[in-house]
C-alpha cells in the first residue's frame, strides 16, 4: 500500500511538472563577418571522395550563417543542471558519414544516450572519438562501406567531444554531452527550443565551438520564455 502511494505521488508530481513546464526558445544571431570558409582541397587527392563532388570541392562550415545573421550550430543548454539525464531511454542520435563528411557536424546528446554512427559512403572510414573528460572512453573503430552501424554512449558531460576520421583528415563532428535533456542546437534559422523546462531560475548558456560561450539568466514559470543571443566576430 505504501509503495502504491509513493508511485502515485511521484506520478502526480511528474504530471504536474509536465503540465507546468515551459519551453525556452530563442534566436541566435551573428554580427560581423566571419573568416571565409576554406575549400576542402585535400579531398581532391582522394578519388573515392572527390568522385562524389564532380570536381567542385565542398568547404568547411565552421560558421553557418544565414543572410540576416541567423547563426546555426550553436549549442544551447541550462548551465549547472545535472543528474537529470533520461538518455538511457531516449531515442538514439544519428551521426552519418556521407560524402566523406560528418552530418551533422554539431550534435548534442544526453549522458547514456546512444549515438549511432552510420557509413553511407562507398569507402572505408574509421570512427575515432577523442573525449577529454575522465570517464568518457576513447574509441577508434573501422567502418567498412555498407558495414554495420557503430553505437557509442558517454557517461560524463562534455562539450564538443570530437569525432574524427583519420583516413580522411578533414572529417570531423563535435558532440556535446549533457547530464539532462535540457539542451538544443540552433538550426539554419538560428532558432533553438529547449522543451519542457520545469519552473525555476536558470542560467542559459549558448556555446559556439569557435566563438565560445555566452550566458543569460532566466526564470521559467508556466509560460514559454524567449532568450536571444548575439555573437560578435571580430
Amino acid at each position: 500500500m505504501k509503495n502504491i502511494s509513493t508511485v502515485l505521488a511521484v506520478g502526480i508530481l511528474a504530471a504536474w511538472q509536465a503540465v507546468s513546464a515551459a519551453d525556452i526558445t530563442g534566436i541566435i544571431t551573428l554580427k560581423g563577418a566571419p573568416p571565409a570558409e576554406k575549400e576542402i582541397t585535400p579531398m581532391m587527392d582522394n578519388p573515392d571522395c572527390a568522385a562524389m563532388y564532380n570536381g567542385k570541392m565542398p568547404t568547411t562550415h565552421f560558421y553557418v550563417v544565414g543572410p540576416n545573421g541567423e547563426f546555426a550550430d550553436v549549442v544551447v543548454s541550462l548551465k549547472g543542471v545535472t543528474g537529470k539525464s533520461t538518455g538511457a531511454g531516449a531515442p538514439a542520435a544519428v551521426l552519418d558519414q556521407k560524402g566523406c563528411l560528418y552530418s551533422p557536424q554539431i550534435l548534442a546528446v544526453q549522458t547514456g544516450q546512444k549515438i549511432v554512427v552510420k557509413n553511407s559512403d562507398s569507402c572505408v572510414h574509421n570512427v575515432h572519438c577523442t573525449p577529454t573528460v575522465a570517464g568518457n572512453a576513447e574509441h577508434n573503430d573501422v567502418q567498412m562501406p555498407g558495414g554495420a552501424d557503430l553505437t557509442y554512449t558517454f557517461p560524463q558531460p562534455e562539450m564538443f567531444l570530437r569525432f574524427k576520421c583519420d583516413v580522411h583528415s578533414w572529417m570531423f563532428a563535435w558532440v556535446s554531452v549533457f547530464d539532462s535533456p535540457y539542451f538544443s542546437v540552433s538550426d539554419k534559422d538560428g532558432k533553438f527550443v529547449i522543451k519542457n523546462v520545469p519552473p525555476g531560475k536558470y542560467t542559459v548558456e549558448a556555446n559556439h565551438r569557435k566563438l565560445g560561450a555566452q550566458t543569460q539568466d532566466v526564470e521559467v514559470a508556466d509560460k514559454d520564455v524567449t532568450v536571444n543571443f548575439t555573437f560578435d566576430v571580430k
Binding site: T41, V124, H128
Partner: protein, 356 residues
C-alpha cells in the same frame, strides 16, 4: 691503429649497414608523413590492419590516411628485418666486441620502436607518439653510426692518430650543440603530436609581433579566426609558447653551428675533414631554418613539414658524426691543436702549423 679491426672491414657488411640507414631514413619520412597527415590512427588495429594480416591488406584499402599508415607499417617491417640481419651479421663477423653490442642495441631498439608504434595505436596514446618520433631519430643516428663504424673511412681515420688532435673546448662545444639539436627535435615532436596545426600562423613575426599576446582573450580570438580544413584542436597558450621556444632554440642552434664551423676552421684548418663537416652542417642548418619558415608559410603543408623533420634528422646525424670523429682523435686541453703536421687526408693545415 687497430690492425685486427681493420682486417675485419667487410665492404658488404658496410653496404648493408648503409642500406639499413637509408631505409631507416625513408621510414622516418613516411612516419613524418603519417603525423603530417594526422593519419596515425587511420588503421585502428595492430599488428593486423583492418583485421587482415598486415602483409595481405587488399590494395583497395590503401587510400587516404590509411595509405601512409599502412606504408609506414610495411616499411617498418622491412627496416626491422634489415636491422635484425645487420645485428646477426655484426655479432658473427665483426671482431670488435663493442660493435657486436651496438648491433644488438639496434635490434632491441627496432623491436621497442615497433611495439611503441603499435601501442600508440591500440592504447590511443598521443604521448607515446612523441616517444616514438624521438626514438626514431635516435635509431636513425645509431644506424648511420653503424654504417660509419663499418666503413673503410672509419678505420683509416682511426689509423691517422698522429696527424691532428681536437681542442677539448671545440669538442665540448659541438657536443653541446648536437644535444641542443636533439632537444629541438624533442620539441618539434611534441609540437607535431599536439594535433593542433600551426599554433602561430606567421613568420618571422608571431601574430604580427616579436612576442605574441597569449592572454585568454587573445587565444580565443586566434581560435575564432583559424579556419583549418583539418579542424584541429583549438590552440592553447602553451602551444604558442612551445613554438616560440622552438624558434628561439633554432636561432641558438644556428649561432652554435656557425661558431662551430668558424672555430673548426680556425683551430683545425680549412682542409680538415672535421672543418668541412662543420661547414656542411652549417649549410644544412640554414636549409633547415628555411624549411621551418616554409612550414609556417605553407600552413604546415604535409610534404614541407615532413621535409623539415627529415632535414632535422640529418642535422642531428651530422652533429653526432662530428662528435664521434672528434672523440676518435686525441684531445688537447688548450685551444691550440698540437699536431705533427703532415700531408694526407687528415693532415695538419697551415693554420695548425702556425699555431705550433
Amino acid at each position: 691503429m687497430n690492425t685486427k679491426a681493420q682486417n675485419t672491414n667487410d665492404p658488404w657488411l658496410h653496404l648493408f649497414a648503409v642500406l639499413t640507414a637509408i631505409i631507416t631514413f625513408l621510414l622516418l619520412g613516411v612516419g613524418g608523413l603519417v603525423t603530417s597527415h594526422d593519419a596515425g590512427m587511420s588503421v585502428p588495429d595492430w599488428p593486423t590492419s583492418y583485421g587482415y594480416n598486415m602483409f595481405a591488406l587488399p590494395i583497395k584499402f590503401w587510400k587516404g590516411g590509411a595509405f601512409f599508415e599502412h606504408s609506414h607499417r610495411l616499411l617498418a617491417s622491412g627496416a626491422g628485418l634489415l636491422t635484425t640481419v645487420l645485428a646477426v651479421w655484426l655479432w658473427l663477423k665483426d671482431s670488435r666486441r663493442w660493435m657486436k653490442w651496438l648491433g644488438m642495441l639496434a635490434f632491441l631498439l627496432v623491436v621497442a620502436q615497433g611495439v611503441l608504434g603499435g601501442l600508440r595505436v591500440t592504447m590511443h596514446m598521443d604521448s607515446l607518439g612523441i616517444f616514438h618520433g624521438v626514438l626514431a631519430q635516435f635509431f636513425f643516428v645509431l644506424t648511420c653510426a653503424i654504417a660509419l663504424f663499418t666503413s673503410r673511412f672509419w678505420l683509416e681515420f682511426a689509423a691517422d692518430k698522429n696527424k691532428f688532435s681536437v681542442p677539448r673546448g671545440l669538442r665540448s662545444h659541438i657536443l653541446f650543440v648536437t644535444i641542443l639539436i636533439f632537444l629541438q627535435l624533442v620539441l618539434g615532436a611534441t609540437m607535431r603530436h599536439q594535433h593542433a596545426g600551426l599554433a602561430i600562423p606567421d613568420f618571422p613575426s608571431a601574430y604580427g609581433k616579436i612576442w605574441p599576446d597569449i592572454s585568454p582573450a587573445a587565444v580565443a580570438h586566434y581560435n575564432a579566426q583559424r579556419m583549418d580544413v583539418n579542424g584541429e584542436n583549438p590552440i592553447t597558450a602553451f602551444q604558442i609558447i612551445l613554438q616560440m621556444v622552438h624558434r628561439a632554440v633554432a636561432l641558438a642552434i644556428l649561432a652554435g653551428v656557425a661558431a662551430a664551423a668558424w672555430l673548426s676552421r680556425k683551430r683545425l684548418g680549412g682542409k680538415n675533414p672535421l672543418t668541412k663537416l662543420a661547414w656542411s652542417w652549417l649549410a644544412l642548418i640554414v636549409v633547415q631554418i628555411a624549411f621551418g619558415a616554409w612550414t609556417v608559410w605553407s600552413n604546415k603543408a604535409a610534404d614541407v613539414a615532413t621535409a623539415h623533420v627529415l632535414i632535422g634528422a640529418l642535422s642531428l646525424v651530422l652533429g653526432a658524426f662530428w662528435c664521434i670523429l672528434a672523440f676518435r682523435r686525441p684531445v688537447t686541453s688548450s685551444e691550440i691543436a698540437p699536431s705533427s703536421a703532415t700531408s694526407g687526408s687528415f693532415g695538419a693545415t697551415p693554420a695548425m702549423a702556425a699555431n705550433k
